[in-house]
């Protein structure tokens, strides 16, 4: 195999290694990281929405306090506002859920809220089945249950956010690692290449030079066998023929 091909191949291989590593690192940062950042944003907005659900439930409690203070009109207005906020936020969350666990939590929230709404509707319709104290106790219980389920939802997204943060960290490492591996491989390859160039190119040239000098100065016959079958071998053979002709002419 020709020397030119061997040396070119060596440089091309180093270039290929570095190019692939660089390309992959850029791909990781630009595209793979992008998906994770999108998911991060979606999770943050879900946490914001669950906060709104919590606030709506707090407003319902406030509304009931007003009702107990016989401020019925204000109470009704506040109940309606809370109900409207809760329902619209829940609808928004429902449109963005992506797995069975989230769906299950939403169903639980709906169930608990439906119990609370049933009680408040009865309260506001003047069909007083229970005393105010009983309504307070019952409503407090169902609102607390609803609040608990919403908290569960909130914690679920907080956990996912933590997991995503760790994934983003891991992705950052994945972006850097190919580059580090490629650089290490390129250094090792360069050393290997340098060894081969020294052994199969430089050393034979130095040896041929020495043998030619030995022949010209001391008359020692030229007897060098190259290991490889390339331009260096051809050079050595040409020098051998030259020395043989020179010897014949001398004789």
């Amino acid at each position: 195999m020709k020397l030119k091909f061997k040396i070119t191949a060596g440089f091309l291989i180093i270039a290929a290694m570095l190019f692939i590593a660089g390309a992959w690192s850029i791909f990781q940062v630009k595209f793979a990281g992008k998906n994770l950042r999108k998911m991060f944003g979606e999770n943050l907005s879900m946490i914001y929405e669950t906060n709104k659900l919590n606030r709506a439930l707090e407003i319902e409690q406030k509304a009931f306090m007003l009702f107990l203070l016989d401020k019925k009109d204000e109470s009704v207005a506040l109940f309606n506002k809370a109900d409207s906020t809760f329902s619209s936020t829940l609808k928004k969350i429902e449109m963005n859920i992506s797995n069975k666990q989230e769906k299950q939590i939403i169903e639980n929230i709906k169930k608990e809220y439906a119990s609370a709404k049933n009680l408040t509707d009865k309260l506001l319709s003047d069909k007083e089945e229970y005393s105010k104290e009983d309504y307070f106790a019952k409503l407090k219980t169902v609102l607390e249950k609803a609040d608990k389920v919403v908290d569960e939802f909130h914690k679920y997204y907080e956990t996912r956010l933590t997991e995503l943060t760790m994934k983003i960290d891991a992705e950052e490492n994945r972006s850097i690692t190919p580059g580090l591996v490629a650089m290490s491989a390129a250094i090792v390859f360069a050393l290997l290449f340098s060894f081969f160039v020294n052994h199969y190119v430089v050393t034979p040239i130095v040896t041929i030079t020495k043998k030619v000098n030995d022949f010209t100065e001391n008359g020692i016959p030229y007897d060098y066998e190259t290991e490889s079958n390339d331009e260096i071998h051809e050079l050595s053979e040409s020098v051998r023929k030259l020395t043989v002709k020179a010897e014949i002419n001398r004789d």
Binding site: A170, F189, F196, N229
Partner: protein, 483 residues
């Protein structure tokens, strides 16, 4: 020594690794998993490092013993480094030291893992993990020699370094033929077990990866709970049968295949192999039953037989947590971790052959004490052994135990508890895999300090290369470069 010749043959080993990296990346490609880039990139590096020396270095007519040793040991080291690449590039639990540990554990067929969640890995990476076992089982050099065109004296020299001359002689064939027979037996066992496991209900991927791990007596499962995850008696029985086969001297298996059953009947080592495992299984089953570990004797027998055979063949699969077994059962496990199976198989450990020589030498010594003037030749399987052979066996056993103790002590210095340190060191040296306590059969090595993982990785290589090969590798005389 001619470095360029060494690099050329190590290049072939890299190409062999590259083939399996390619197959693994194809699996990732079709599975659309995250293992594609790590495997494909590692394939490219292995391919380029493998091909490049072939461009520069012409084939030699012969190689020296030193060169053969450096090629074989160098191939092991560098394969472990190439094996690290997919893990490092995959990330997650694979830090640099964890990648090194997992890679060495794979190639040396130890089967100890640092992974807490094996099943979360991409399928391609899991296949690569299993492939490192399969390649390391009989030695990567053997595969290379089998696929290369006629290598003449070079091939013979390499084969005799990778597989000891005494093992090759048992085939009563030329070295090159013996190498091919070893490979055919290896392939045959793999294919048969894959088919049997699929028949028992495993899917193709699980069957192939578990077959790779069984025939190499490695033990890497693609399940977090190892074989226990399948909870299938038929699967466990199939794996036990093939563990026994994989722990048997391949020359004996060849004898059976060609109809020479007398070799099996007259082999005292084989009788000891089967007898000692059988006795241990019964004793441990009784211990487990009478101490109340299991409600029925058959249940105790199921778990004791699998665990004893797994450790006794240095495979390392688990169908139970032997760390919670009574002390007698645990000590039996430690004994078999040290002893393991027959020479000439893919098993690790001290090997039954040396244990038989040891016991026979001990018996002879007792007889000599009683009859000081009598001469008692030491005969194993019809062959008379000289004192040198006995000395070598006893020296190896002593050196082996010494290394296990030194490793244990160093691990305890790093804060590892004594039982984990000793059992882990014994399991690493014997290429068994699981130890006891925190490195038990259903545990992993993730909690071992990083320095301990580097140490255990080195111990695994010492065990796989049977001590002398690796130690001589570091002698300056080995590296005298020919000008």
């Amino acid at each position: 020594m001619r470095p360029q010749i060494v690099i050329r043959y190590i290049g072939f080993v890299f190409l062999f690794n590259a083939f399996f990296l390619f197959v693994s990346s194809v699996i990732s490609f079709f599975n659309h998993d995250a293992g594609l880039f790590p495997l494909a990139y590692s394939f490219l590096i292995a391919l380029l490092f493998g091909l490049f020396p072939l461009i520069f270095v012409p084939a030699p007519e012969e190689i020296t013993n030193h060169e053969g040793l450096v090629i074989v040991v160098g191939s092991w080291f560098l394969s472990c480094i190439i094996g690290m690449l997919p893990y490092i590039l995959n990330g997650g639990e694979f830090t640099i030291v964890n990648s090194w540990f997992e890679s060495v554990s794979g190639y040396t067929t130890t089967g100890a893992t640092i992974l807490n969640n094996i099943e979360s890995l991409p399928l391609g990476i899991l296949f690569w993990r299993a492939s490192t076992h399969w390649m390391g089982g009989i030695g990567i050099i053997i595969f290379v020699l089998a696929v290369l065109p006629s290598t003449g004296f070079v091939g013979v020299s390499l084969a005799r370094t990778e597989v000891s001359i005494s093992n090759l002689k048992q085939f009563r064939k030329r070295t090159s033929e013996a190498v091919r027979i070893i490979l055919y037996i290896y392939l045959g066992i793999t294919v048969l077990e894959t088919a049997a496991l699929m028949f028992a209900g495993m899917n193709l991927f699980d069957a192939v990866t578990h077959s790779f791990a069984t025939v190499a007596t490695g033990g890497f499962s693609d399940k977090n709970m190892s074989v226990a995850a399948f909870n299938s008696v038929s699967i466990e029985i199939i794996i036990m049968i093939f563990m026994i086969l994989s722990g048997t001297n391949f020359a004996l298996l060849f004898s059976v295949v060609v109809g020479r059953f007398s070799d099996l009947k007259t082999s005292s080592v084989f009788k000891y192999y089967i007898g000692s495992n059988f006795a241990a299984i019964i004793l441990v089953a009784l211990d487990l039953f009478f101490t109340g570990s299991y409600q029925s004797f058959w249940e105790a027998l199921r778990y004791s037989s699998f665990q004893i055979l797994s450790v006794g063949t240095s495979t390392g699969f688990a169908n139970a947590d032997s760390s919670v077994w009574p002390a007698f059962a645990q000590l039996m496990i430690i004994f078999f971790t040290l002893q393991c199976a027959m020479a000439g198989s893919t098993s690790g450990g001290i090997k039954m052959d040396r244990i038989v020589i040891f016991f026979k030498a001990l018996k002879r010594r007792f007889r000599q004490v009683l009859h000081p003037n009598a001469v008692f030749p030491l005969v194993v399987d019809g062959k008379k052994l000289d004192d040198n052979a006995v000395s070598l066996a006893v020296l190896y056993i002593t050196g082996y135990i010494f290394i296990v103790f030194v490793s244990s002590m160093l691990l305890t210095l790093l804060g590892v508890d004594p039982l984990s340190a000793f059992s882990g060191s014994a399991a690493a040296m014997g290429n068994v895999g699981p130890g006891l306590s925190t490195v038990g059969s259903l545990e992993n090595y993730s909690q071992i300090p990083d320095a301990g993982k580097w140490l255990l990785g080195f111990v695994m290589l010492l065990g796989r290369l049977e001590i002398y090969g690796l130690v001589v590798f570091f002698f300056p005389q080995t590296w005298k470069i020919k000008k």
